[in-house]
């Protein structure tokens, strides 16, 4: 830290010293006063749109927005007074006035920040009446947009541009006709949206939500003709506990498995198996490319938000992106081929549900490339972590007190390398554990690649493999990824392998993960770090920590697939990409 200038001010009579340039709201964080706020988000730019965070400053004629008002030496701030209390209450009431009053039936009931504010600020009656905007819900894509519930705080606009670099959303039109929408007020599916769901995460209300798959899954479970199997992504075991009162970062794999059995799924498999398989296929692909010194760097393709981004923003990188399907799609494909064959079940009678931390996975499942020869998706339904939490609550499952169960064999067996797929850098670490041994034929001494761990936006390191220095890049959050990818496109840096995860922090902070508990916020690096820690703890406690040591994978190749990257592997486990329009502006 440089010796920056500090400012001393008084907030409600307490003396506070903060760096120059801080805002009153930031300064108040150091006292024990929480100034209510709505459009403010600590990890996004400040726009001061909602005025809920107003405070009184001595010498200022009117209250000021504390989120954007800079501190000054000797400033005297009052965070509560009768005037402020009434003004804040009226501001929120005016927002509510233009809002559908359907809290009881709203998907954000209980997690809505507007609902909470209305309670906290004492909006107990409605004094104003006026016109209400009526705009249809956009259900065209996995990310639903309901402008009637939008309070124009602009968090989604900011996360979409500042964190994801997608810039799909902006406030369109003027005044009463203001609406947050893609260009030309178009539907999300016709826009440059990559379906990452970060807008869903930061939205204080239900203006952005995920497409609901719960009813489809409930129906499948009650259909006696269907064999319903489920598999859960690595990141779910690190986050689903939050929905049932567990502390952030508590791994609950065993309870998750038991709860899914109780929900009625016939088989409970692990997307981790798909992750191990992805590593085998991808590291083979990498070994081939590095031996031939062509199509480098190899860029991972597990993150569907990234794949969508790549097709719209960096179509020139298509040849470099791994042709491997994601773990979800690999496992779903195997369930309707290998597993169906082994079990003697008609694959058309198998209903595959995937529990994912992600809204873009819903889009991935619907892609033409991931459909069966008979035209149905390999993954029939994708549930987000949030959706599964609700389903289990609906079923009355006492999650916190469940006995630990274990995944069904053989598609539930996995290595520790698969568990860490849910954290940024995890896919890279897993790939390195296998690729190193594959290329050198030597055993890896230390399995922990600390340089690629952690929630920094871009991580870079190099390792020696057979005398060759392999340059590694890892990025999470697409605005960060751009920095890395522009180096590739412009040829300014030479990488051999790159991992990209669309969401900041990786899947643990994906667009389908639980809304954070009190005291934490979406995009909070601490949140991603603690959730990731749960995954690394599972990995370190497993005796099998390398994908290629997974006996179930070996068996799969021996009895079904042949060798890695075989013809059958290419047919079932690999995919292709196409440039998509509208093209995004990088």
């Amino acid at each position: 830290m440089t010796t920056e200038k500090t400012i001393t001010l008084w907030i409600d009579g307490s003396k506070v010293t903060v760096p120059e340039g801080s805002t009153i709201l930031q300064a108040a964080d150091l006292t024990k006063i929480n100034i209510p706020s709505l459009c403010y988000h600590p990890d996004l730019s400040v726009i001061g749109a909602c005025r809920v965070c107003i405070v009184e400053v001595e010498g200022q004629r009117n209250p000021v927005a504390s989120c954007s008002f800079p501190v000054a030496e000797g400033m005297k701030v009052k965070t509560s007074s009768t005037l402020l209390r009434r003004l804040r209450r009226d501001i929120v009431e005016l927002i509510l006035d233009n809002h559908p009053m359907d809290c009881q039936t709203c998907v954000r009931n209980g997690t809505c920040e507007l609902q909470k504010l209305a309670y906290d600020l004492g909006v107990r009656e409605r004094l104003f009446a006026g016109e209400r905007k009526r705009i249809p819900v956009d259900k065209s894509s996995p990310v639903h947009r309901n402008p009637e519930k939008c309070i124009l705080c602009g968090r989604c606009v900011r996360v979409c541009s500042e964190v994801q670099g997608v810039n799909n959303l902006n406030v369109q039109n003027r005044g009463f006709h203001n609406v947050v929408a893609p260009a030309h007020d178009s539907n999300m599916i016709d826009s440059v949206c990559i379906h990452c769901g970060q807008c869903v995460n930061v939205c204080p209300t239900a203006a952005f939500t995920e497409q609901d798959a719960t009813e489809t899954v409930f129906e499948a479970l009650s259909n006696p003709d269907l064999h319903v199997v489920v598999h859960t992504a690595p990141a779910i075991r690190a986050t689903i506990g939050e929905g049932f009162g567990f502390r952030v970062g508590t791994p609950v794999t065993g309870k998750l498995v038991t709860s899914l059995r109780m929900a009625g799924f016939h088989r409970v498999f692990d997307t981790n198996f798909g992750a191990d398989l992805t590593i085998i296929e991808e590291s083979t692909e990498f070994a081939n490319r590095i031996t031939k010194n062509e199509k480098l760097p190899l860029i991972t393709s597990c993150s569907p938000g990234w794949v969508n981004f790549m097709e719209r923003f960096y179509p020139e990188l298509i040849p470099l992106t791994s042709s491997c399907k994601s773990p979800m799609s690999m496992l779903s494909t195997l369930l309707k081929t290998y597993y169906a064959q082994q079990m003697g079940i008609d694959p058309q009678k198998i209903f595959v549900v995937a529990v994912m931390p992600c809204t873009a996975k819903k889009f991935e499942a619907s892609r033409e490339e991931h459909k069966t020869p008979w035209g149905k998706p390999y993954t029939d339904a994708v549930l987000t972590t949030r959706e599964l939490i609700w389903m289990l609550k609906c079923l009355g499952v006492d999650f916190a007190n469940l006995e630990d169960g274990s995944f069904d064999s053989p598609l539930g067996v996995s290595s520790g390398a698969a568990d860490i797929f849910g954290a940024t850098g995890g896919v890279m670490e897993a790939a390195l554990r296998t690729a190193y041994e594959k290329i050198t034929g030597k055993e890896l001494q230390s399995l922990d690649f600390d340089d690629v761990r952690g929630v920094e936006g871009v991580k870079e390191t190099s390792i020696e493999v057979n005398g060759l220095t392999v340059n590694i890049g890892v990025a999470n959050g697409l605005e960060n990824a751009k920095r890395l990818l522009d180096c590739v496109v412009n040829g300014t840096k030479k990488y051999h392998i790159i991992e990209i995860m669309a969401c900041p922090g990786g899947c643990v902070a994906g667009g389908g993960q639980p809304y954070p508990p009190k005291g934490m916020h979406v995009l909070d690096p601490q949140l991603a770090r603690q959730r990731a820690r749960a995954l690394y703890s599972i990995d370190v406690n497993k005796s099998m920590r390398k994908s290629h040591e997974n006996p179930a994978i070996e068996l799969l190749y021996e009895s079904f697939l042949g060798a890695p990257n075989s013809h059958l592997c290419h047919e079932l486990l690999h995919t292709h990409y196409e440039p998509k329009s509208p093209r995004g502006v990088k």
Binding site: N168, N170, R174, A183, H184, D185, V192, E316
Partner: protein
């Protein structure tokens, strides 16, 4: 790694605008804050086509490398920009306080009735479009109607048909 796709996108975008507009954009891109010229570019595009079509705004987005959601966000904020082709003759009615008090509302009703369109729309034959202005600063002449560049003062509903006839309005052909 130069992408053919990026090149093609740019060529397609340039083809949607005139050479002079493309030249102007290139000139703007060389300036200090290129993005701040967006409004100025949109003005130029609207002057050229009479409106801002989706294809025009997308072309501006590609050439200026400003996300299209931002381009349409800016364009839809300003009353001046219009998104559908305007008529050959643009009829503008002042709805400022003075004009309104002196009966501009009734003139507008008549105008809409005769042309069979609403404010912001264009007749099927492409001859007329109607806009309303907030105040043209000629309150002494209220109510004021402007057709193209010509200002008509003290307009009464009964005079509207005659004024329009000077621009090719045919009462018999017009929609009921």
């Amino acid at each position: 790694m130069k992408s053919e796709l990026v090149k093609k996108d740019r060529e397609k975008a340039a083809a949607a605008l005139s050479a002079s507009t493309v030249g102007y954009i290139e000139e703007c891109l060389r300036k200090k804050s290129p993005n701040s010229y967006l409004i100025s570019v949109l003005h130029k595009v609207q002057n050229e086509f009479g409106y801002l079509g989706m294809e025009h705004m997308d072309a501006v987005s590609v050439l200026m490398q400003i996300p299209s959601a931002k381009v349409t966000g800016v364009a839809s904020f300003y009353h001046f920009f219009t998104f559908s082709p305007r008529g050959k003759h643009r009829v503008s009615l002042c709805m400022g306080t003075a004009c309104f008090v002196k009966g501009a509302g009734k003139v507008l009703d008549k105008l809409q009735e005769l042309l069979g369109i609403k404010v912001g729309e264009t007749t099927d034959d492409g001859l007329f479009s109607i806009d309303v202005a907030r105040c043209v600063g000629a309150c002494a002449l209220a109510p004021v109607m402007i057709v193209d560049e010509k200002v008509y003062a003290g307009v009464k509903p009964a005079q509207v048909a005659k004024i329009l006839a000077d621009y090719g309005y045919d009462a018999k052909k017009a929609r009921k």
